[in-house]
């Protein structure tokens, strides 16, 4: 572990780390992830791993076959998008104009009170709720807005599994994750070995450098 760097229990979700590396996170989230990764060995290693993957992917992309007519491909894709949009216009229902008599004369005071209450509750939610719950709510709202029947459709499968208890073993140790909450063994030293059971448990083995005593720590889904 680097000097001054502590192990941190509440790790950043791997999806966020990936977005951070690709520069696709919002400003505040980006700053928060950078702050955390600078102090968390595990997340810092994952960031480095994702960066290495990006370099590898770029190298592979640079090896595309010769003779590809990119202008032609681009023109064809643009044409396909236009055809799709035109087809959408044809099948869309005409909007019904609401009669002006239906307009409600809303006073500004109740609206301001409601806005204040919403802001207050939002702050309380952000302070209280685990990141996973907030993410899940965001996905559900997104699914409603975009008219998807299920929030499971089209969502990163790795993120999906974060909702259920998942036992994880990697070089740094073992974890039990649920809703992005991390539980499990969290010793500062790296285990000499880790193991998983399909019954839903994970074990990490540590050897005390001074006494040689072996300690095996386990976490269980059920």
């Amino acid at each position: 572990m680097k000097p001054g760097i502590k192990s941190m229990k509440q790790h950043i979700a791997e999806t966020d780390l990936a977005l951070y590396v690709s520069g696709d996170l919002g400003l505040f989230r980006r700053v928060a992830v950078r702050f955390h990764a600078g102090r968390c060995e595990r997340c810092s290693r994952l960031v480095e791993a994702y960066r290495a993957d990006r370099v590898r992917v770029k190298n592979i992309a640079a090896e595309m076959p010769e003779g590809v007519d990119w202008d032609r491909l681009s023109a064809e894709m643009t044409a396909n998008i236009r055809v799709g949009l035109a087809a959408g216009e044809c099948v869309a229902r005409p909007r019904q104009r609401k009669p002006s008599a239906m307009k409600l004369a809303v006073s500004w005071r109740p609206a301001a009170i409601a806005a204040g209450a919403v802001a207050l509750l939002s702050v309380a939610w952000l302070l209280n709720m685990p990141a996973g719950t907030t993410d899940e709510l965001g996905r559900a709202l997104s699914a409603i807005v975009h008219g998807r029947g299920s929030v499971m459709n089209g969502v990163n499968p790795v993120a999906d599994d974060d909702r259920r208890p998942v036992v994880v073993a990697n070089q740094l140790g073992i974890e039990l994750r649920e809703n992005n909450n991390v539980m499990g063994a969290s010793q500062d030293e790296r285990p000499v070995s880790v193991s998983l059971s399909v019954r839903g448990s994970a074990s990490a083995r540590y050897v005390n450098a001074d006494t040689g005593q072996v300690t095996i720590t386990s976490v269980y889904v059920q």
Binding site: A49, A117, V155, P157, D161, S186, V192, L196, G212, Q222
Partner: protein
């Protein structure tokens, strides 16, 4: 509403000191000498308490037998995910009246409202003690009897192996074996990104295919795994099913199969173990399986190999592979050394060959 939003529960709070209970039965073979709970604490977070249990405990062997292993259950909430952990200490050799330490370092969760007066109750309970005659004491709620018995059998096998090696090949032979063991410990890492296990089917929209297991066969194994397959979708394997046959003359109640996965680069690693409670009379066959999914972050599954790693008979005895079987090139690369071999290798690394030889002479 203001009260609701800015109530103490609405803000992340500073950790609150916590003193867990240690629950030992009246006839416990070990007694607690001291407990230093360090910075054990609980912190309200969302709808739960985040509980850090860090302890240095000291126990005394209160029996007339030597203790070989101890498992403690650490419980913040027994029935919810994240509420249960355990700490096992194998490869012990504690004489009657001697003391020994157990360190706990676990991070657990407990739903708010489950403790007394808003404070989460955390309990440390004895799950089992294994003696040198392989007798066991304890409630065994976490199946620690199986684990500790297998670790003890592995310890005896490995000590015997290194003693014979010392006799046959001298100190140089033992030294080479220790260096090879230390090197092996760094080679059996799980893949980058790790392995995940989720109960039931994980969510993956990739097309599925069935992939058959290949098997490593050990000549003296009482169980033969003859065929098996799992469903693979992208980087996920689920619903493993394996046909096993009891080729011994004793009834078998338990077996464990190691599951090796080959990735897209041809690298193999031990991904998980598949324990199974069975009822196999001599000569009988049975299919074993588990409704679970195994998933990798940066790895696609190209092949799978299984091997029988331990077998429990109805008379309470166990079978484990011998050192000859473990010399299989594939197994040597992927299977970690036993806890005892890791202890001996660490002893060699930190304190040298002479101390290791003295340690081997004790048994």
């Amino acid at each position: 509403m203001m009260l609701l939003a800015f109530s103490p529960a609405a803000f992340p709070q500073t950790p609150q000191k916590l003193i867990p209970r240690i629950e030992l039965p009246a006839d416990s073979p070990v007694t607690l000498l001291s407990a230093d709970w360090g910075d054990t604490s609980s912190t309200p977070r969302g709808g739960a308490f985040s509980v850090d249990v860090r302890a240095a405990l000291s126990f005394r062997n209160a029996t007339q037998r030597r203790i070989r292993g101890v498992t403690l259950a650490v419980l913040s909430q027994e029935v919810t995910p994240g509420g249960k952990g355990s700490v096992s200490v194998p490869s012990l050799d504690v004489a009657p009246g001697e003391t020994f330490p157990i360190n706990i370092d676990l991070h657990l969760l407990r739903p708010i409202g489950g403790g007394q007066a808003g404070v989460p109750g955390v309990a440390v309970r004895l799950d089992g003690v294994l003696f040198d005659d392989l007798n066991f004491y304890g409630p065994d709620n976490l199946h620690s009897r199986r684990s500790m018995t297998v670790w003890e059998l592995e310890a005896r096998r490995d000590r015997q192996y290194f003693k014979k090696l010392l006799e046959a090949a001298g100190t140089k032979g033992l030294q080479d074996a220790m260096i090879a063991s230390l090197a092996r410990q760094t080679e059996s890492d799980p893949p980058r990104g790790g392995v995940q296990i989720v109960r039931g089917r994980a969510t993956n929209s990739d097309p599925e295919r069935e992939v058959s297991f290949a098997f490593l066969h050990f000549p003296n194994a009482p169980v033969e795994a003859s065929s098996g397959m799992a469903r693979i979708a992208g980087n996920e394997a689920h619903a493993p099913r394996i046909e096993v046959r009891n080729r011994s003359d004793r009834a078998i109640r338990y077996l464990e199969i190691g599951w090796i996965v080959k990735d897209q680069d041809g690298r193999e690693f031990l991904a998980a173990s598949m324990p199974a409670d069975v009822n196999l009379a001599a000569g009988q066959s049975q299919q074993v399986g588990e409704d679970a999914s195994m998933k990798f972050l940066h790895t696609s599954i190209q092949g799978m190999t299984g091997f029988v790693s331990s077998v429990g008979f109805s008379d309470g005895s166990y079978w484990i592979p011998d050192r000859g079987a473990l010399n299989d090139l594939k197994l040597r690369r992927v299977v970690s050394p036993s806890p005892e071999e890791q202890r001996l290798a660490e002893l060699y690394r930190k304190r040298g060959l002479n101390v290791l030889i003295e340690e081997l002479k004790k048994f």
